[in-house]
Symmetry: C2
Subunit: 349 residues, 2 copies
Amino acid sequence: MFSMATIRDVAKQAGVSVATVSRVLNSNGYVNNETKKKVDEAIRQLNYKPNAVARSLYKKTSKTIGLIVPDIVNPFFPELARAVEDTAHKKGYNVFFCNTDENVEKEEHYLEILLQKYVDGVIVASNTLTAEKVKELNIPVVSIDRKITAEIPTVVVKNKEGAQKATSYLKEIGCERIAHLRGPHHIDNANERADGYLEEVGSAPWFQSSYIADGNYVMKTAIQATVELLERHPEIDGIFAANDVMAIGAVKAAHRIGKMVPEELAIIGFDGISMAEATTPELTTIAQPIYDMGTAVTDLLVKLIEKKPVERTFLELKVELIERESTRKQNNNKGGREHGAKDHSSRQY
Amino acid sequence: MFSMATIRDVAKQAGVSVATVSRVLNSNGYVNNETKKKVDEAIRQLNYKPNAVARSLYKKTSKTIGLIVPDIVNPFFPELARAVEDTAHKKGYNVFFCNTDENVEKEEHYLEILLQKYVDGVIVASNTLTAEKVKELNIPVVSIDRKITAEIPTVVVKNKEGAQKATSYLKEIGCERIAHLRGPHHIDNANERADGYLEEVGSAPWFQSSYIADGNYVMKTAIQATVELLERHPEIDGIFAANDVMAIGAVKAAHRIGKMVPEELAIIGFDGISMAEATTPELTTIAQPIYDMGTAVTDLLVKLIEKKPVERTFLELKVELIERESTRKQNNNKGGREHGAKDHSSRQY
DNA sequence: ATACTGTGTGTAACCGGTTACACATCAGAA
DNA sequence: TTCTGATGTGTAACCGGTTACACACAGTAT
């Protein structure tokens, strides 16, 4: 067993001081060209790699960020995590990966560990954190998908606008009784999406609040809720589900009851997760630019870390309607504009 | 802006030496109970948190591991990553998260960075790494899902056995012409699964090699391959796809052609990804114990890191047939035994 | 001749922990 | 009484980088 070469080994090998080696490594200060060659040669010979931990200790920065998500298994987060990691890597940062299950203690525990490990900043996808906690961390924290407070930089999407887009699209294709399968009341984006729905149909003559069913963003309960909804209101011919997972549940419920999708019932989701393409019929949805959100939030964090100027600390990204098979226009029946090919969509298992 | 308290601040505050504080922190060596109280009080007053970087530098260990996957977006990996992170966290380790897209240079680059950051070990899900490269890292490396070489500890599943199980299950429910949608030739598990299929039907009188179609583990090409397969051999009444994503593609192809699943064509996949439950009909599959694999591989790695004894360095886990709707028994028609409820299946978005 | 600036290099302190070693005290054994 | 071992604490070296500072020497301006 042998141990890694240190900067002192390199210095000895090259016949110079450690300061000079350090200067060569970081290309700062003055170094004679001949000296530099000797040092480079010594580095090559010893296969020297500088020790990032020692560097971190002195510089008080680790070129590392933390990514805190509720659960990577939740289909929204893999693409987000991918974008964060890609962007961080491009900028020279590594990412620590943490799952909190929306559990406050777990989250605070992770933050403490990350802080002790000198992370330069943290990306949080969670709603349990308080502004106070964040402030005492003394490092940049940005939030994705959930607003925490006005002080914390955030990247979200236009949830209300997207919900309006979804609902008005259902109207447009001829739906006359449109229901909403909403998300949990304690999650902001669920409320915003419900607001968007109400904005479009809340004052329609047929509307009643019983057209809104409570879901909690998971498939199983969405199936049950949809079955009850359709039993309560058999006249429903369109459902806007607040996320894709529930929309998939709604499709299953319709199938179970024997309602044809989209002929008798149009269903539209929200999120644009890849699972929505696995269903039959494939799901029409309001797609969030998940990858772009990850890129944007990471860019923002890195700028804050490196104290570069940032234009805005609150980004509200646009969503996009993707027409697939779970809805069909009354008049024309074309497949509809899809997403542009994503640069990372061709990967294989 | 204020800076973090150090061990020397604590020592001063408590009126003791840094060694004593360190002893209290790590509960080793002798410390008088009264002294310990003073130190604890000083720690509390200053809200002192030990600096993990400084500790790493001296101890040459960071309580950090690397997780290298091809692409977290690939539906197999989120659950694996979750298991790895859960297990690592439980044992006091943080995980660096890296996506390589099966790209050798990217992979080697990540390994180099991880090494410089003093990671204690690495989990690799990849087939591009050579044993030589791994050896010169001088830290424990374990492999998941892919065998690299005999020397590198590995956790895989019984692919051939699973494939046989899938194929014989199709025979059992009455299929008489069973095709195989295989994975890429350069991936071991694809070859093992093809072997398992051949073992079951390779010597059947009806068998021809044209019953095997090349797929590359992605949905789009699987759809095309299935369409061609069914045009070539309309008599096919069962398809074993080498992964779930291709099986979903096969379901779509059947739907497109107008073949009823499972009535006219039974389809079975492999992997047990959650997406397989989103389809209509829901997919019968050979489920890998993905979460367990992640737990096992992390346990193994941590044991190697901590130089604890390990029983075996090659684990081949069992797979399990999950009957759902895309296949149906000729005789009895019961829903079939599902997975036990996974402890992490109830999370919400 | 003097001062000044740019180039090139080395010494040693520093980052914030851990621990080897030295030393002191005290109880119980020989 | 002396020896031994357990208890308790402090000093300083160490981990492997970075950099402030000192210094030396050249070339050029005054």
